[in-house]
Amino acid sequence: MKRVGVFICHCGSNIAGAVDCEKVAENAKSFPGVAFSTDYKYMCSEPGQELIKKAIKDHKLDRIVVASCSPRMHEPTFRRCLESGGLNAYLLEMANIREHCSWVHPDDKEKATWKATELVRMAVAKVLKNEPLQRSTIPITKRALVIGGGIAGIQAALDIANAGHIVDIVEKEPSIGGKMAQIDKTFPTLDCSACILTPKMVEAANHPNINLITYSEIENVEGYVGNFDVTIRKKARSVDMTLCTGCGTCMQKCPTKVPSEFEMLMTDRRAIYTPFPQAIPNKPVIDRKNCRYFTTGKCRVCEKICPTKAVDYTQEDELVTQRYGAIVVATGFDLFDHSVYGEYGYGKYKDVITGLHFERLINASGPTMGKIKRPSDGKVPKDVVFIKCVGSRDEAKGKAYCSKTCCMYTAKHATLVREKIKDSNVYVFYMDVRTPGKGYDEFYTRTTDQFGAKYIRGRVSKIYEKGDKLIVRGEDTLLGRPVEVEADMVVLATAMVAQPDAAKLAQMVGFSYDQDNFYTEAHPKLAPVETHTAGVFLAGACQGPKDIPESVAQASAAAAKACGLLSKEEMPTEPIVSCVNEAICAGCGMCVPVCPYKALDLKVIQERAHGKTITRKVATVNSGLCQGCGACTVACRSAALNLKHFTNEQILAEVDALCL
């Protein structure tokens, strides 16, 4: 026979002023299972808690109902009280007779007392079905994974490494550096992007706590906070990293030329290559899709020429699995593909280029050695048109959001054109100029006032070729008049968009993303670098368009969160999780897609049935991932899934008790 103790708190006059607490305590005595019932002025006070502890002992109570304030307030207090009184903390239920009763019904003592009695009755009915639950702890693996080796990933890795933890950076390209490596200058200071990035790359490469895993991708993620088992696919480089000295001879002799992705296809690289001269690691890979040996079976020039015999055509992709305590996702962004814009020529006009193309055109190590020459005929353009918001702020063809960085980089480009080509004319078509940031608006003002870029407020409706000119037709909405500009080159400020495989990675790791496939932070204000999955943090533009300083700041924030986690040996887990009754579970899997935490999966069990050993599938809950929402319990038609502490039986008992 279960023995419930009921404790009604007066909360001074907060409750007792509107509820007849003595009467509620008296009423509770007749409820089934109640062995002891009393009231007291302040239950949460030291004497109040002592009262409970004493009653547990004196009346052999095995579960407790405290009727007082909201459980959101004092549930932890009374749980501790039960524990020190020798009971499991989860054998407590609270009836909220203050916030939900006395405070909202101050003028009708009879009704308030009636309601308080019923709330206590519900709590008693529920507590009779409470089970003792055990908190457990999970160990934390002191190693962090950073996915993505751009500036955000590098910064996060450096911060974590400097805090004394081992970090692996997984980068899918042959070199770390990311998009920042392609950029020529940074706004608003116009300092050289490479000059500030490469030292960081080198620092990361040389850091004793950092391992670079380049040319590699995440294959699978299992586990949960503190214990992520991550499988990484190390793509075959065809070059033995331990033997290669990075002398570069192979890259000179390779007979196959392939348009260079790093240079936006404006010049060639070889089939054995590093993406750019300052690449880290500065050791080449063979692009097997284009390599003559791999496509025709003949050649082997690089193998012959390599002084250290580092070239190895037999290398295969390698899968390695490593356990991590925390993951920082810093996978960056991609650029909007402007070929959906028919009015801008569907991408078929050679001299209509994107901002990133332009970065390479003005970069001293780029295809034109820093001379601005237009792609079609190599002529130095005199009239350059910039169009902003290409793919952003355009729900019809692109994305609804503002891409945030384009106003500034377009201003930078405009400045650079005017600086490098003295007799040039620069026109910028814009919707708004948005320049919130330190020194940003001043920079924009210089672009117009000092450098004389002509800003035209309006959209471009059509670009077409006329002779060797591009006719840009639009509207100047400030003048209310159509305008036409004869341009030599048009630069589109294409929006930052999520990486094409962003959703896939999010599903693999198990966190959410928004309608544009940018990763969703746990809370937009108060948890901007966390994800809903404990132990997974976000850095950089994978979460939304960001410029460099913002990416770096968020990377450091994510690193701080990761360090906080890794600084602990173990972490406690909440025992209010779902559990599976395997005898009932049919293994239909309907619960699996409902779980936001990927805590549910199917496993195969063996059992004896009708004298045979059979195997069947059943659901299984990963209690490290489960956060106890209970959505799965409703998806489970046969109620094989149940949520501890909020079981079907408990809720039904509450409903029944309320209806008496």
């Binding site: 028919g342 009015e343 569907y346 077409y464 070729e465 006329k466 006719i471």
Partner: protein, 295 residues
Amino acid sequence: MKYAYYPGCSLSSTGIEYDMSTRKVAKALGVELWEIPEWNCCGASSAHLTDHLLALALPARNLAIAEEQGLDMAIPCAACYVRTKATEVEVKSSEEMQKTISEVIERKYTGQSRARALLDVFVNDVGLDSINALVHKPLKGLKVVSYYGCLLVRPPKYGFDDPEDPQSMDKLVEALGATPVDWAFKTECCSGAHAIAKSEVGLPMIEKILAAAKESGADCIATACPLCMCNLDMRQGQAGSKFGRSYNLPVFYFTELMGIALGIKPEELGVNKHFVDASGIIKKLNEAEGRRETA
């Protein structure tokens, strides 16, 4: 192949050669055109600027008659097409609207019968290969710019072709043996009724199109819209004189070009009704034909 034919008002007046050529060509291609009895105005321009329901209900009646016969509608005029298509799309997307419209027109229209542009029917239903196989007199050496106008392929959700760079007419003239010339003014606005009411707005717009066509090196313009035809053909002289130029660019309905290639006499197609004399081109084509025959 059978369609409910909706000529619309222009095709019995300014655009009569579009009607003549359509009927002749359809016959030659084995496409049966069943003219919708007692068809009514599609409501173009005026209806959709005044009353949304009226604008949808007017074409709905024509569609309903077609639907009763189990036929899709074939519509030569671009404006008629886009108004009728608008009704079809709206009816399909809203059950409520379908009910309202059926009530207004006192006929049932469920969205089964589709509005089809004549160009779409010829290119995509009859097919370029079938057309090519029937060509008697290939338009060899004729350089044609295809002018689709602003309505035929827009808005994108109604269109059967790319809204910015449509291709179907270009491919069609290619199938007729002519040389399609790429240009940037395929879907430019011809100024519509502005040419009449506000010529200071309209004429420069017409002029731009003509200039671009000329610059592209084309011998003639092909079009699929009676109003475009009016503006480019009838007002060509006016536009030219205003800007001190002479274009001498014959404008054809694409159906006329088809008819010529299929060997139908130009008069039967109404080619002689053009303002800009097209006989020069016909003559040249005949000469080329003659040369080939004798050779």
